[in-house]
Symmetry: C2
Subunit: 123 residues, 2 copies
Amino acid sequence: MADDELSRVFAALADPTRRGIVSRLAVGDATVGELADPYDVSIQAVSKHIKVLADAGLVSQSKDAQRRPCHLEAEIFDLMTKWIERYRLQAQERYDRLDAVLAEMHVDQRRADLRHLEQGAAS
Amino acid sequence: MADDELSRVFAALADPTRRGIVSRLAVGDATVGELADPYDVSIQAVSKHIKVLADAGLVSQSKDAQRRPCHLEAEIFDLMTKWIERYRLQAQERYDRLDAVLAEMHVDQRRADLRHLEQGAAS
DNA sequence: TGAGTCTTCAACCAAGTGGTTGACAACGGG
DNA sequence: CCCGTTGTCAACCACTTGGTTGAAGACTCA
């Protein structure tokens, strides 16, 4: 994986455990232990997942005694959404233009049919 | 990487070369060779990238003699967008509620200040 | 048919990923 | 001050990934 930001964000979300952590954090902040609870992997593994999310800018951690409450950084989603929307819309416009071309072809075809009918009637 | 669809889509886009291919395809369909042209990796590597995108449902390929024109399947973007929006909005609402709470605290603080002032004036 | 073009398949390799266990740092409550 | 709790770091392992090269399949054209 390349180390640019967009790559890190997509890669971070390409794992169901990490997406689960994100969806849990959308409800509210939580400690590493709380986040690890639903999963049957070690707490160290979850700690690593959180590090990946933090490196991607999706999550931040603060200090509360020996606890490290995790917080979802929702702004970073915009980066993804913008990238996605750019190409989704671009592709959509292309399809719309294609539809327009096809519609125009149908009009032309109808005109040709009409001419053909007229010629047939004349002969 | 887990093999569920959302994971495949995110993982597919977690690579700058594959995002480049997607952005090229948003302009219009292209053959494997055309897609490989801008990159200084082998055509086989690009063919593999296209396979990853196809397995994620982001790209489809048709047949034109020995060519395999690639086509962007924009609908699959909706899957991601929906996932992202769900948690982005959920988090946003939470922040809005927090803002409301903070605003209310400020109001309470102003009331307390006011009482304090009144008491100070009375004493 | 035979040469040339476009693409994929197969085998291989270095580097990265997600998991483990063990050690340890940091902190709060008896 | 020690002990339990919380979390990270380090080393290791199996597996995946992104790249390579070489061969072969599928097709066109002379």
